[in-house]
């Protein structure tokens, strides 16, 4: 298999097994040149293992991956020249300065002194670290280190960039700065970016296409909009009830516009195409039947709903990052 001009990465039935545990199960996908491709899934879904196989850090048990036109097993060196990688852990040397970190990396890629002299200030500028260039990285915040590592990963002008959980552990301001930088990179250089994340918002904001991974399996792959469209109903009403009668779900399903009703961890998820109206009708219905509504909220379909729809469970790690209209305080 060779990557075509439109495909930067081609993954075919990639599998990784550690003893009896299968971390990645026959995953196949392609990443188009110039797109930001997201692997979305909870911790332990196999995203890092997948990225490590694509970046030659872990040999696959079976299957094939071609990155930048190079097979990850047969031509690992070719892959390493073609890619820039920002691993999940902060891998910049805290005992070196920002400039030294980039310079050492540039030497590992064989850049000459004149190339380094020209490139390093430019890279530092592009990640907003010029004034910190001679400061030890140990004194940097997590966001600054992440930006430095992005600059470091770009030192050899790679064709494809891998970012493993690029904003995990960062505060919201740093996270936004990293997002902005990733967007700029794509616009400025036409770089292909593959990132993993367990943040819905991150995937939604950055990615052209998203592959949802759960338990090592790729369960859905499309653009964020199409993924959301694939979930029945345009809105999701979440509600919690006290002592609902046995036929309560069936009763809700009969409401106008409701597509489906599911219960997950005691929370009723109602997919509907007329969210606010459904909430009103639900409240009336509850009053009629003597059911206490402990909490109700409504929002447009999110990637969380997509994840729930495809995997049957919520992406709990991302719960704190969602922007829902939580109305529970009204019913306390």
């Amino acid at each position: 298999m060779n990557t075509t001009e439109t495909n930067a990465i081609e993954v075919d039935k990639l599998k990784k097994q550690f003893g009896d545990f299968v971390a990645v199960k026959d995953v196949s996908f392609t990443v188009h040149t110039g797109e930001i491709f997201g692997l979305l899934g909870p911790n332990g879904a196999g995203k890092t293992t997948l990225i490590r196989m694509m970046t030659t850090l872990t040999p696959p048990t079976s299957g094939k991956a071609v990155v930048g036109g190079h097979d990850v097993v047969d031509d690992a060196d070719g892959v390493r020249h073609a890619i820039g990688v920002i691993p999940q852990a902060l891998t910049s040397d805290p005992e070196l300065t920002a400039r030294e970190n980039i310079a050492i990396h540039a030497k590992l890629y064989g850049l000459s002194a004149s190339q380094r002299k020209e490139l390093i200030p430019h890279l530092l500028e592009s990640v907003g670290l010029t004034e910190f260039r001679d400061k030890l990285v140990g004194s940097f915040s997590g966001g600054m280190r992440r930006r430095l590592e992005i600059a470091r990963g770009l030192v050899h002008s790679p064709k494809i960039m891998f970012l493993d959980e690029p904003t995990t552990g960062l505060d919201p301001v740093s996270r936004s700065a990293v997002w902005e930088m990733i967007n700029k990179l794509k616009e400025a250089s036409g770089l292909t970016i593959l990132l993993t994340t367990h943040y819905m918002e991150e995937a939604n904001q950055l990615c052209d296409r998203i592959a949802i991974v759960d338990h090592g399996v790729l369960v859905a792959l499309d653009t964020p909009t199409k993924l959301k469209d694939s979930v029945p109903g345009t809105d999701i009403v979440e509600a919690e009830f006290d002592n609902p009668p046995a036929d309560w779900n069936a009763t809700i399903e009969k409401l106008d516009g409701v597509a489906s009703v599911t219960i997950h961890d005691g929370v009723t998820h109602i997919a509907t195409n007329r969210g606010p109206l459904t909430v009103g009708e639900l409240m009336d219905l509850a009053r009629e039947r003597g059911v206490t509504v402990r909490r109700v909220s409504v929002q447009g379909t999110t990637l969380d709903d997509v994840f729930l729809y495809y995997t049957g469970r919520q992406l709990r790690d991302a719960a704190s990052e969602t922007t829902r209209y939580d109305m529970s305080h009204l019913y306390k």
Binding site: T56, L57, T58, D77, R80, T91, D93, L108, Y109, G110
Partner: protein
């Protein structure tokens, strides 16, 4: 104060302790190892000291003297006798450290025995190791005393089958010390220099390497096109440079403190540099091989004391290797410290030049090549 909280802290610490084999090894195996190694490394009976015997007399009387040496070699095995034809050859080997002492029976020995005219035996000693020197000298003195009394040195009171002629006047043992008196601080200096290099190797090749690995810093390098041989050689040479810097500092500062004569002799400094470089490369590659598959940062810290005991004390840095039991001698044979200490002693105490160190340098180099090759083979380029 609540007992439950105290118990909670105790429980936490005990659980962590029992789940960390490195800490358990460090706390339980290390003291035992120190007991055994130190117990046997000090004050053991010194055996197998290489002594050159030059018999220019070739007479019945001189053969009697040589037979007594042979009896010591076969009996208590204090000496390992090597016969030389010429005094000049023996002196060269004495100066370069291949033998520890020369016993010279001059051409006129038997004539003087016959004449009763103060027959002389010369004892030329490499007095850089006081433990060895006093052991050999004691043997020599008792041997001459026995000769003078016509007694078998190993079965006191019993006459030899061939009666020894009673000498009158008595045999005169002439002792020649090759070097000025060597204080113990000078004797210890070589071990301290090797120790400085070992500490750098332990910190750079062990602790920092594993810390960087566990912090994920290596992942940043492994995704670049660097080959594992390049990465390992880079790490080993950087460690060796640091080792050389530490070794040079201790050589010069320690040399001044200990009062090494003509410390600034440029030729000797050149050879010292050679020994320090090869020692540094050997030590760091040794450490690197030990740590190549380790990922727990506690392991190198826990091993620090164990390795220190296991490498420093059997090296002959503080007590001669000839005083060790066989199992400890075997450790000293595969211990890079031994060759470093031997070469440094040859240069600092005897200023032997290249002839006194080339074997050690060759062993250290061979050792380094083997260890680096094994490190490359065992290093995992992948995670």
């Amino acid at each position: 104060m609540k007992l439950q909280r105290i118990l909670a802290i105790i429980e936490r610490d005990m659980r962590k302790f029992f789940r960390s084999p490195a800490l358990m090894v460090s706390s339980m195996i290390f003291p035992l190892m120190q007991l055994v190694v130190l117990g046997y490394a000090f004050g053991g009976k010194i055996k197998g000291i290489k002594v050159a015997v030059v018999d220019e007399d070739h007479s019945t009387a001189s053969r009697d003297v040589r037979q007594r040496f042979d009896a010591i070699e076969a009996g208590p095995r204090t000496l390992a006798i090597q016969n030389y034809s010429f005094l000049s050859d023996a002196e060269v080997d004495l100066r370069t450290g291949f033998v520890r002492a020369v016993i010279y029976i001059p051409r006129d020995y038997s004539r003087r025995v016959d004449q009763g005219n103060r027959p002389r035996i010369a004892f030329i000693e490499d007095n850089t190791d006081n433990f060895v020197t006093s052991e050999v000298l004691n043997r020599m003195q008792s041997l001459v005393q026995d000769l003078n009394q016509g007694l078998n040195p190993f079965q006191p009171g019993q006459r030899l089958s061939v009666p020894t002629p009673r000498l009158n006047p008595l045999i005169d043992l002439q002792v020649v010390e090759l070097y000025p008196y060597i204080e113990y601080i000078k004797y210890l200096l070589s071990g301290s220099i090797a120790m400085a290099i070992f500490i750098v190797a332990m910190i750079g090749g062990g602790i920092t390497f594993i810390d960087d690995k566990s912090r994920g810093l290596h992942e940043g390098y492994l995704v670049t096109p660097i080959k594992k041989s390049e990465l390992i050689l880079g790490l080993i040479f950087s460690g060796a440079i640091k080792g050389l810097m530490a070794g040079t500092s201790i050589t010069l500062i320690g040399g001044l403190i200990a009062g090494i004569d003509r410390l600034w002799d440029p030729v000797r400094l050149l050879y010292l540099g050679l020994v320090l470089i090869t020692t540094s490369v050997a030590m760091i590659s040794f450490m690197f091989l030990l740590m190549v598959r380790v990922s727990d940062p506690l392991v190198p810290r826990a091993m620090f004391g164990v390795l220190n005991t296991l490498l420093y004390f059997p090296s002959g840095a503080i007590y001669p290797v000839e005083g060790f039991p066989p199992w400890l001698r075997w450790i000293s044979y595969i211990d890079p410290f031994t060759y470093a200490v031997h070469a440094l002693k040859a240069l600092l105490l005897k200023n032997t030049g290249f002839v006194g160190i080339y074997t050690d340098v060759a062993v250290l180099l061979g050792f380094s090549i083997l260890l680096v090759s094994l490190s490359v083979a065992f290093f995992r380029r992948q995670i």
